[in-house]
């Protein structure tokens, strides 16, 4: 039994995180420090003909501008192949390349200076499709390497030709996955401080792998490793992402620190971060499988093309993991796998949680379900027939032994916990009844090599140091990324020494104080670093044992128990008292013994033969199985994830709280990967450049996740622990895809399973929103940031109108939209801040209706009793806007005047015949809301007018209502489409009045009068509802038939209109 291993332990770095005291990269402030920013390229590929910094360098407050020529050391960088530049010379490889870096006294000056650097280019045709990249006629992205192919790994086992000949069935499928952004919530930040004592630099920041950063900066600066000391700040998420990108940033900041001899901080905006940082590799995967009619796999041929983007970075290692694992956890005699990574002018791709496994698992596990279907067996049976068991031989010819091959065990546990078999029956029954919402259940499983395997050196360090009072320090050569490594390592020291974890302190790491422990990657921390910590703690324990063995009258350390701060004999003897740990420590210290020990754990041997792809790739493996239960709205293609059961063999749980946390977090990222995260890059230009475009799951997109932790202790890990972080993510998308096939009886071969992918079977290109503003702005702004504004705050409405009469101002109300748009503007903006004017607030009621002040917020609207009673559609629509933070500030007036086609308050106001009251010095006028909005972002407001209030007449009769809003997620949506509907009946129960208003469909919301007229005077029944289809199609086709989105929007909108009418019909039926 263990003291603390396996229990739920609160994280030791939690206190500073819940109090806001933890210091993250951008929280660092030093007196006299300078702020840096990057001058990014304007184009994704081309040759620079001129860089003009003359204007920028004369801006007051600019202290340095650094270019390629200023680099003191190695100009070409990269973790494996040197093909990357922290500052480019004259060749542009992708849209995140940096041409110059600026340091100035304030952030604003720095950005202004970047804008002032003028660059001239000759553009190349950007190479963006990896299939084009390998064509012989394609321009070489890095001509010095003679080929656009970065790496090619072959793997051959058995005789593939013979395998196919012996197969009863052969199927071929092509699977595709896209770029994925890490989307750590903390954008990258690095601060470099000149250090006169070492004649080098101290580097602080959001750094995942401090030793890699040290090596890169040392090379770039032309210094020895011991001149660079890297301190990790608290890291705001990484997931593999804060490696190469932060190393490049650290180089730039170091160069500026050298030039200015001052501390320099470089922090990315979110847009810079998404533009510059690397992504998960998109894969195109061609699978050909041969199998017997009973489902036994005979042969598999796999060809994979990975987009490495502009640089090779980690592509060598990412694709290597894929080649080892591409056939999944199945024993197949005959295999041929070829994987190539190729250069393009896209964002470069590198490490991301999963590291080459999520892509192939999506393909492989989708394929397995299809094979099962062809053979008429269940998804479970196909895996039982082919799955690895003890002693199985992998694709690379490795015999799985020396650890428990628990594939079938994890499948069994996942199936049991999810009640898989019963759920299948239940879902099949329910799907017979429900025409619209279909339920689906699917599973996926995997094996995963632990740690780095044959990638390269795999060793790590830890120090455990006991102080004279019995307190303990732990240091490690690995880094806390948020995953909980500090807590696990302190638990291990606490377990070995028998001291309370509160007595153990994890020291802030710096590269100068402990040997290079390799990168914190590959789910290797607990396994490798935990083992190093264990070794160090055991060394110290032995030293302490020397001074107490006499007192305890024992010979061997095995005869003692170290727990709860005491050391005692394991066979208690009356006359021998347990010794307090602190007394033992003091005694050992007094005896002049060294109470610090170095743990160094080097991995067991692995092997790899490059030409054949054969070898013992990893020294141990983990196994996992996930079951996804989903609901699909077949009217819209929207997937709702109901439950994910995740069963993982972890060897041994160290911290149960942390282990479950890994599952929750990894599965959530897997849901994002499978369903939401559609990175949009077109012709090398990043379109989804912030979280309004790149959608990660919100709290409402995650329902239930059931973690199942299975323990088969491994001989190599501390207490038997292996890996967990990455397996949790890699399985989810495949399970969801299989559940989708169950629900809809249609298979998808591409993720993410966006609305369009599910509904149409293909993805559609999205438009840009704020990115459009960036690109279309006359004075194109490189980094969106608010600068150059002037605010006037009038005391009254009259004063406001007076000011508007005299000069052109933008009106600032809640600001939730305007402030975002201000970030794109360089020219000065004058704002009239009316937010606190009492005349524009409040909701009042009179006989005919209500008056809503233009400054009433959405939060006020949705809790107002009069509105709730009389205008339910308005309440419904407003409650779905943004988030509480937005609804607390955003005003109904702002929503109307802004006139976005997706403005959610507008359709219900049109529905309820609202009128707007506008005031200027010339007087007051009233206008119907539908007459006010001309088209997208255009209204009839005059420059000197203010929208004062909105008058909405009270409904004079009973209306039945229905509303549906479609968003890509379940919260924080920009409405994809909405439909608002009310219907009243005459005394014969025929439709007396019908009003229908679209949202986000036409260029501005409008009544669907053609449909309203069709329904009016009739009984609302299924026949009439189906009759609307044709005229509605004609209406939409006329208005938006040519748009990129119409292929999806037209049929879906028709479905939605029919469904709200059906909903009203049902409500009538019930009343």
């Amino acid at each position: 039994m263990y003291n603390i291993i396996g229990k739920k332990i609160k994280r030791i770095d939690g206190y500073e995180k819940v109090t806001g005291k933890a210091i993250y990269g951008d929280d660092i402030y030093l007196k006299g420090m300078l702020y840096a920013a990057c001058r990014y390229t304007d184009i994704p590929a081309g040759k620079i003909s001129k860089i003009d910094i003359s204007e920028a360098k004369n801006i007051k407050g600019v202290e340095a501008i650094a270019l390629y020529k200023d680099i003191p050391g190695e100009k070409r960088l990269g973790p494996i192949r040197k093909d990357q530049y922290a500052i480019i010379k004259d060749e542009v490889f992708y849209s995140g390349d940096v041409i110059a870096v600026v340091a100035a006294q304030t952030k604003d000056i720095t950005y202004a200076a970047c804008e002032a650097i003028k660059v001239e280019y000759k553009s190349y045709t950007s190479v963006n499709n990896p299939e084009d990249s390998i064509k012989p006629e394609t321009r070489l992205i890095h001509p010095e390497f003679k080929s656009n192919v970065v790496v090619h790994y072959p793997l051959v086992k058995g005789n593939i030709k013979q395998g196919f000949e012996e197969s009863d069935h052969i199927i071929e499928r092509v699977y595709k996955t896209g770029f994925v952004e890490h989307a750590y919530i903390e954008p990258e930040s690095v601060t470099v401080i000149p250090d006169p004592t070492t004649k080098g630099y101290k580097v602080y920041g959001s750094i995942q792998n401090p030793y890699t950063t040290r090596k890169t900066v040392a090379l770039f600066m032309g210094l020895n490793l011991n001149r660079i000391n890297v301190f990790g700040s608290t890291l705001g998420g990484s997931f593999g992402g804060k490696d190469d990108v932060i190393n490049m940033m650290a180089c730039r900041a170091a160069l500026l620190a050298k030039i200015t001899d001052k501390p320099v901080k470089l922090t990315n905006t979110r847009e810079d971060s998404i533009k510059e940082s690397y992504k998960r590799h998109p894969y195109i995967m061609k699978y050909k499988a041969g199998f017997n009619k009973n489902g036994k796999l005979k042969a598999m041929k796999i060809d994979i093309l990975a987009d490495s983007g502009a640089y090779s970075s980690q592509s060598f290692f990412v694709t290597w993991r894929s080649v080892v694992q591409a056939t999944g956890p199945y024993e197949i005699e005959n295999i041929q796998t070829d994987i190539k990574a190729v250069y393009t002018n896209n964002c470069y791709t590198a490490a991301f949680r999963g590291f080459g496994s999520p892509q192939i698992i999506f393909a492989q596990e989708s394929l397995m379900d299809e094979i099962a279907e062809i053979c008429g067996i269940s998804p479970l049976e196909i895996r039982q027939i082919n799955g690895y068991g003890q002693g199985s031989i992998t694709a690379s010819g490795q015999k799985l032994s020396g650890h428990k091959v628990s594939l079938l065990q994890v499948i069994k546990e996942a199936v049991k916990k999810s009640n898989y078999k019963n759920q299948i029956k239940k879902f099949q029954e329910l799907n017979k009844i429900n025409k619209r919402y279909k339920l689906g259940i699917g599973l996926s499983c995997s094996f995963r090599g632990c740690s780095l395997g044959a990638e390269g050196t795999d060793a790590t360090s830890a120090i455990v140091s006991v102080q004279a009072d019995g307190s303990v320090y732990v240091l490690a050569g690995l880094n806390e990324n948020g995953q909980g490594l500090r807590t696990s390592f302190c638990q291990i020291a606490s377990e070995v020494l028998g001291v309370d974890i509160d007595k153990v302190v994890f020291l802030e790491p710096q590269t100068a104080t402990i040997t290079d422990g390799g990168p914190t990657v590959a789910s290797r921390s607990t396994l490798m670093g935990g083992k190093a910590t264990l070794q160090a703690a055991e060394e110290v324990k032995k030293v302490i044992f020397k001074v107490i063995k006499k007192d305890l009258k024992v010979e061997n350390i095995e005869d003692t128990i170290w727990a709860k701060g005491f050391i005692k004999k394991n066979k208690p003897a009356e006359n021998i008292k347990p010794i307090k740990f602190e007394d033992a420590a003091e005694k050992a210290y007094g005896a002049g013994l060294n109470l610090s020990a170095y743990g160094w754990y080097s991995s067991p041997e692995v092997s790899w033969e490059e030409s054949t792809g054969q070898g013992n790739a990893y020294f141990t493996y983990v196994y996992g199985c996930q079951v996804a239960e989903i609901e699909v709205d077949t009217f819209t293609g929207k997937i709702n994830i109901l439950n994910i059961t995740a069963a993982h063999d972890v060897g041994k749980v160290i911290n149960r709280l942390g282990a479950e946390g890994q599952i929750f977090g990894g599965v959530a990222q897997g849901i994002g990967y499978g369903v939401l995260e559609d990175f949009n890059i077109q012709n090398g230009e990043v379109k989804s450049n912030n979280f309004d475009e790149y959608l990660i799951p919100t709290i409402k997109d995650i329902n239930h996740i059931e973690p199942v932790l299975i323990e088969n202790p491994d001989k190599f890990g501390p207490f038997g622990a292996k890996s967990l972080g990455e397996p949790t993510l890699e399985l989810t998308s495949a399970a969801i895809n299989n559940a989708l096939a169950f629900a809809t009886k249609k298979r998808s071969y591409q993720i993410p399973l966006t609305l369009e992918q599910v509904f149409l079977g293909k993805n559609l290109k999205k438009p840009s929103r704020q990115s459009e503003d960036i690109h279309l702005s006359k004075n194109k702004k490189l980094s969106p940031k608010i600068s150059n504004i002037k605010i006037t705050t009038p005391a009254s409405l009259d004063e406001s109108i007076d000011i508007l009469n005299k000069k052109k101002c933008k009106i600032l109300a809640g600001g939730t939209d305007l402030i975002i748009r201000l970030r794109m503007k360089s020219e000065q903006q004058e704002l009239l801040n009316i937010y606190n004017l009492p005349q524009l607030k409040g909701i009042t009621e009179n006989n005919s209706g209500i008056s809503i002040g233009s400054l009433v917020t959405f939060s006020e609207i949705i809790k107002n009793k009069i509105i709730v009673t009389n205008f339910p559609v308005l309440v419904k629509a407003c409650s779905l806007i943004g988030s509480p933070q937005i609804r607390n500030r955003a005003t109904i007036g702002g929503n109307i005047v802004n006139a976005a086609p997706c403005a959610d308050a507008v359709p219900p106001l049109i529905l309820y015949n609202a009128k707007l009251i506008l005031k200027s010095q010339k007087g007051t006028r009233e206008i119907k809301i539908q007459d006010f909005i001309i088209k997208s972002y255009q209204t009839k407001i005059k420059p000197d007018e203010i929208l004062v209030s909105i008058k909405v007449p009270k409904p004079e009769k009973k209306y039945y209502y229905s509303y549906f809003q479609l968003g890509r997620r379940n919260a924080l949506n920009i409405t994809r489409m909405s439909i608002s509907a009310i219907v009243s009946l005459d005394k014969n129960n025929l439709v007396e009045e019908c009003r229908l208003v679209d949202g986000s469909l036409f260029s501005h919301s409008q009544r669907l009068t053609v449909i309203e007229d069709l329904i009016t005077g009739k009984e609302l029944n299924n026949i009439i509802i189906s009759e609307i289809e044709k005229p509605l199609f004609e209406l939409i086709n006329r208005e938006i038939g040519n748009r990129w989105s119409s292929e999806y929007k037209m049929p879906v909108f028709i479905n939605l209109v029919k469904s709200v009418l059906k909903d009203i019909k049902d409500k009538i039926g019930k009343s």
């Binding site: 977090g665 799951p697 605010i791 933070q885």
Partner: protein, 153 residues
Amino acid sequence: MINLKFKVNGKEVAIKVEDSKRLLDILRDELGLTGTKEGCGIGECGACTVIMNGDAVCSCLILAGQLQNAEIETIENLERDNILSNLQEAFLEYGAIQCGFCTPGMLMSAKALLDKNPHPTEEEIKTALEGNLCRCTGYIPIIDAVKNVLDKY
């Protein structure tokens, strides 16, 4: 430049700042309250959430000129006399934190909810936190933590 008077965590603040400064910049750069984080700058992630006059808001979407006489509460106000609030304790106990970068905003959204509604349903918790993105925890431990905060927090 604007002369501003407002309250932060119960204390009067009087400063002169540029018109283009956001509440987030003022807290972090002028007042040294770096517990409030910037994640996106466009109100989409909630890392910069503070409580303004009783309501959760994104401090990246409030301009200096809109702060006159406002009352602001930030993460730095949650721990009193070195004692963590029950809400903070619950976050620790349920594992609602990993990297911790979203945590201050998440806690402020949760506090804004609990200040008004001490016994929220799960749905109310989700709605209150729907504007706060977390990339590490999968949200489930966060919901559990908020659910289990007792009457006093």
